[in-house]
Symmetry: C2
Subunit: 336 residues, 2 copies
DNA sequence: TTGTACGCGTTATCAA
DNA sequence: TTGATAACGCGTACAA
């Protein structure tokens, strides 16, 4: 190491981190030399020694989904300001990969972990390792209620109710729902919120008004739309559990010559950028993914830095907003 | 360590990696015990010892851009199959952050690096460190011609020419261009491709037909459209350097009551998902981001594993395709 | 087939 | 203010 050329390793080490007990002339010289030699500290060794990596691991299904990448941006913003680095692991919605990711993360000695569960996951043993080894773990969005950890979520039930009641408020009488995978809590909650809104307003609750999808893909959205359109008494409003399927519904409805929102009003979920581009622009729930990420990061960092606060489980609920756009602006109301 | 309960550390170590010279009964027992104890190898220590991390660092502007996240998915797919892990660093298009990212990556002893440069970057010293320390470096998309490294790109010049000639082929006579930041090579190349197409076809090449933007944002696209629409002799076709601006152009044109493609045909660049959702659907260049990522990953892994192949610089050019959609399907041609 | 001993590059501790 | 030394957890050459 660079010390050859001057003094002792410890002096170098201290100088590089501007330790107060080092002469400032010395400190300067060391810095200059490091620069000249193109010296990069080996953080592997440092982390090993200090038993701290400043790494926050993130396990998410897919990076190329807008909701996820927004959340990551939020995590990154908070983490980097606090001096942490974010390493991302994609599960591709596969349980096996998620398990592998968790193992990796344990091995890399991450200081904390933030996770959004894979579709497939319904066994949580692989995540217990974090608890057992005192690695702070925070879930967001697709959380796990079986495990006692901190969570960041939105009120999916309430948001779905709000979305459905909005459809009711513009005069829809038969409201359908495109439902997500019912293995996942958030999609169950959204279905329940939809049902509760109907119940409270004494509207029809027919099974055939609910179309269950595997993964809320565009293709499934189109299939759902076709089913609804073929019904003898056609629904006049649809609440979809995500934007992708909602947009497909809009496109399919238009393809058959019907009008959105006049023949069928549509509401989505997530406020992804596409909801502004489809025509008519999509009314949707803004779930503030970026803020969820920020909150999750703050939470995990707090646990890392204040381990004494031994709170078993805390849940943060991020606000959500209904963003009303043309896909639910019926003529009679635009006069306002 | 687990050895307390059995034999020596080295036996454990060897057993865990299924070393041939260990009794298979022994090996099995060790694995079982590790499982029971919830043992996770400390990869920090292992990497330090082996002087190899199996990490590929990726420096990109922003994870929440579709092109980038697709490329990352491609990188990840190849890397994980080859036993490498991908760590992502976002520069947010800031030179300072990119510099910081490079330092981090050096410190974390990444085995290789894949980079897509930030908008701001026009000094490349921070990347020299990789070369100086024999860390393989591969650029993609926004590459750096000043440095002698491997690169993965598309033929931006040719693609832009193809896009522009497509506009010409459908009968456009006055073709405008929404140009990206001219500091970046790819955007310069796209402008040049546009110009070359006009030249070859003896079409008007007026300065006012080129609208220079800062970052090809939606807002700038709308401004460009307005400028074009206000011109005394209005352009009848526009080639935009990305999809975001192209979509804004379409929306702005429609807002003023003009028709796409009949009054003004529009072509974008990248084939992002939104290009399918806008109406009319956007004709665009598919730049195969996922494949660029794959190619970059293969390239960097080859360099890691075969350092003897001392090729100074190799450039892979990924194919690109013009995807024709309604935004350039004029009535007279749809009869085909 | 297994054990011993050392070193990877850093930092914490203690002594000077 | 600085230096010597040990230790972090693992892999490996060598010895047994």
């Amino acid at each position: 190491m660079a010390e050859r050329l001057k003094v002792s390793p410890s002096t170098i080490s201290r100088a590089l981190q501007n330790h107060p007990s080092i002469g400032k002339k010395m400190t300067q010289e060391v810095h200059k030399l490091a620069e000249k030699l193109g010296y990069y500290p080996n953080s592997l060794a440092a982390n090993l020694r200090r038993n701290k990596t400043n790494l926050i691991g993130v396990i998410i299904p897919r990076i190329d989904r807008h909701f996820q990448s927004s959340a990551i941006s939020g995590i990154e913003e908070v983490a980097s300001k606090a001096g942490y680095y974010v390493v991302i692991f994609q599960s591709n919605n596969s349980y096996e990969r998620e398990k592998e990711n968790a193992r990796m993360l344990m091995s890399s000695q991450a200081d904390g972990v933030i996770a959004c569960l894979a579709m497939e996951t319904n066994n949580y043993d692989h995540l217990l390792a974090f608890k057992n080894n005192n690695v702070p773990l925070v879930f967001f969005d697709r959380v796990c209620y079986e495990l006692e950890t901190h969570k960041v979520v939105i009120d999916d039930f309430g948001a779905a109710m709000k979305a459905t009641e909005h459809l009711i408020s513009i005069g829809c009488k038969r409201i359908a729902h495109v439902a997500g995978n019912q293995q996942i809590a958030i999609f169950r909650d959204r279905l329940r919120g939809y049902q509760e809104a109907l119940r409270r307003n004494n509207l029809a609750q027919e099974d055939e008004l609910i179309y269950y999808t595997e993964d809320l893909s565009g293709k499934e959205g189109a299939l759902a739309a076709r089913r609804f359109l073929e019904m003898p008494s056609r629904p006049d409003g649809v609440f979809c559990s995500n934007d992708t399927s909602a947009i497909s519904v809009i496109q399919e409805v238009k393809r058959t010559g019907c009008k959105v929102p006049d023949d069928m009003a549509v509401v989505g979920f997530s406020n992804t950028p596409v909801s502004l581009i489809v025509e008519p622009a999509l009314t949707t729930i803004d779930d503030h993914a970026f803020e969820m990420g920020q909150a999750a990061a703050r939470m995990v960092i707090r646990q890392i830095e204040q381990p004494q606060e031994d709170i078993a489980s805390e849940t943060i609920i991020i606000r959500n907003d209904l963003v009303v756009r043309e896909s639910t602006l019926k003529q009679k109301l635009t006069a306002d």
